[in-house]
Amino acid sequence: MKKIRIGSGAGYGGDRIEPAIDIIEKGNLDYIIFECLAERTIAMAQLQKLRNPAKGYNEWLEYRFTKVLPACVDKKVKVITNMGAANPKAAAEKIYEIAINLNIPSLKIAVVTGDDVFYLIDQYMDLPLLETGEKLKNLKPSIISANAYIGAEGIVKALENGADIVITGRAADPALVLGPLMYEFKWNSSDYQMLGKGIMAGHLLECGCQVTGGYFADPGYKDVPEIWNLGYPIAEIEENGDITITKLDGTGGIVSPATVKEQIVYEIHDPANYKTPDVIADFSNVKVIEVEIDKVAIRDVSGKEKSGLYKTSIGYRDGFIAECEISYGGTGAYERAKLAGEIIEKRLSILNVPVEELRIDLIGVNSLYRESLSSKLDSHSHHSKDVRLRVAGRTILEEDAERICHDFDSLMTNGPAGGGGVRLHIRQVIAIGSILIPEDDIEVDVLYKEVQNDETQRISSF
């Protein structure tokens, strides 16, 4: 039976590069994916593109492609990535430039477009945001981006046309793997059983080493060998949709039923209805079998017809967040840190600083779980001799965020005894909301840019 080997070279935008090169060189791969987008990343990239039309793709793209391209060409490993972010065309231009500089003899780069639906935004004003139910029109002046999660269609088309590198914007993460599988195994776009299995393969790979021992270790309970040298995952997928996850011999990390199960359940909500643009995958009867050390098989995944609706991320400006911290130590640290927090709360009220929301945390006491749960976990935390006050405030205007920081800073002379280590930080908030748009609104297209050994024969379709 035909088998395809797909590696995962990144589970987030800034992931490590060496383990990716390692699997390209030694993993006997057919494809490598680099999954580099999170909910907010695309909106941040749109902001970059607004400032500079030649930017808006993954900030590590140049570094990453310079390192991996020679190995990919040498080993004939095709690359599928959403590193295009808000500007996949500019990303392709950059990859083209890198390939020329590296004297790569020939390379076909495909750009998948169609996820950016900002040009249609006016027709969505009456749609509710999934998170709050609020109508989109209430945010209208603040909206900066609208990107739909598109499926595998464009990737399949690109591969059919001989692409070596496929670069997308907001494609759904598992589509980066489903695409090559549909192409290689000629899975039909209505063969939901197989598409469900392909989505599982994508879901297992999309977070990189989170399936090979990353984000897993808990000393004494879940130990990970050589965790400083995690090997990145390789999936072997058969034509019937059977999946095996493994990693390179000699690398650190672990592939076990436990690491695979953690990744299977990760962020899927309803396991019987994992919604993607291509299929509603069903993981509810999945079996996980250890084949040998660091080799785990995944079986019994299926799928159902897709919803016909595309989740679309709306990025909008949502004011500013000021974050301020100061530390107190020794006996009475908790009381002094708490007093300092009360001082800031009072000062902001006296000064009439318009703060939308204020949060006061004591790091080491209640910053992660609020007072309610923190006290259940540890009733002695108030006796800590190392307490860090953190004040976070959201404001509409940047100058009001600055006023929070300014007043916090004055705790150095105006606050309780022994405070030190003040840190102040302000950031603009780009918030994300989601809407569902009809499938018919999406027009996926694929553009190509080709490098040939004779530079005079460069072909460019855009």
Binding site: S284, A392, I432
Partner: protein, 106 residues
Amino acid sequence: MKLRELAHSRTGDKGNISNISLIAYDMKDYETIRKQVTSEKVKEWFSGIVHGEVIRYELPTIGALNFVMYNALSGGVTRSLSIDAHGKSLSSALLDMEIEVDYVPV
């Protein structure tokens, strides 16, 4: 004993929704966990943090539960004032919950 002795967990997020898995180390403990770690109990445990519904999904073939907790991330990752805006540390707190077993684990 603590749930941590019997199960492991990972947290994910989507918007203002937190998604926490709970996976038995040993399949024989799944039923014990399933019986005791109900959505009501999890909602009560996270009562100061999770302000919406808690739905529990079951994956018996891998001995796992999945808790989907609504209105759990102070408005969502992008605008939350929480130091851990993704709520990634919630899984560790879930594992600190007590569970009763009728045998002495090895």
